[in-house]
Symmetry: C2
Subunit: 126 residues, 2 copies
């Protein structure tokens, strides 16, 4: 399982890890029932503490994306996250689009960018 974290990202590491795994699940690189690597392995790969990865796993479990069982590992539980309100989904989208607009990108270019990203996310549909 290939994921990357970035020191200068600003967001906490455990959240970056969760985001990376969300992407893997959305893209279908981690299917329902698939097992996730042990927290110690991911931690070693990234050079961080195992608790940091465990925090990411807990966050994903709260969203219903994975199932974590004490002693056994963690597995992908669903490709559908639960419980995010409309506003919680819209706000980050608006912020990202605002940044693009302020960077000077024209509308058409932004739509192309979005389309590209979406294609990458939906390539291997269920």
């Amino acid at each position: 399982m290939y994921i990357v974290v970035d020191e200068r990202d600003g967001r906490p590491i455990y959240r970056q890890v969760a985001d990376e795994i969300r992407g893997l699940i959305a893209r279908g690189e981690l299917r329902e029932g698939a097992g996730l690597p042990p927290v110690r392995q991911v931690a070693a790969d990234l050079g961080v503490n195992l608790n940091t990865v465990a925090a990411a796993y807990r966050e994903l479990q709260r969203e219903g994306l994975i199932s974590v069982r004490h002693g056994a590992g963690a597995t992908v539980a669903s490709r559908t996250a639960r419980g995010k309100s409309d506003g919680e989904l819209r706000k980050p989208l608006r912020a990202a689009l605002t940044a693009l607009v302020l960077a000077g990108l024209p509308r058409a270019e932004i739509m192309t960018l979005v389309s590209d990203e979406l294609r990458g996310l939906l390539k291997r549909g269920k």
Copy 2:
């Protein structure tokens, strides 16, 4: 200048304030040369400390969006933010789109959502 912050947002307040003002500038509700309210006034409106708002202003100044002068106020300097790398722009977009996909929204609906948001941002283009 109407902005809102949310305790349960997760992001620090000063960053939320900066984001709100970014939106105002992008939408043209704050034009180049327009003056921003004093940090004390914004702080009072939001019920936070003036230094929290000052931190937001500094962040916007670093991006070249506003100009802050000691003793005089802050004014909008440009509608174009500087220096954001391609990855820094793409990563939040990808994260937002991933959340939408995991929420179960179909591609077409996501595109509509994006289009709506973009229209709101570009309505009063200069």
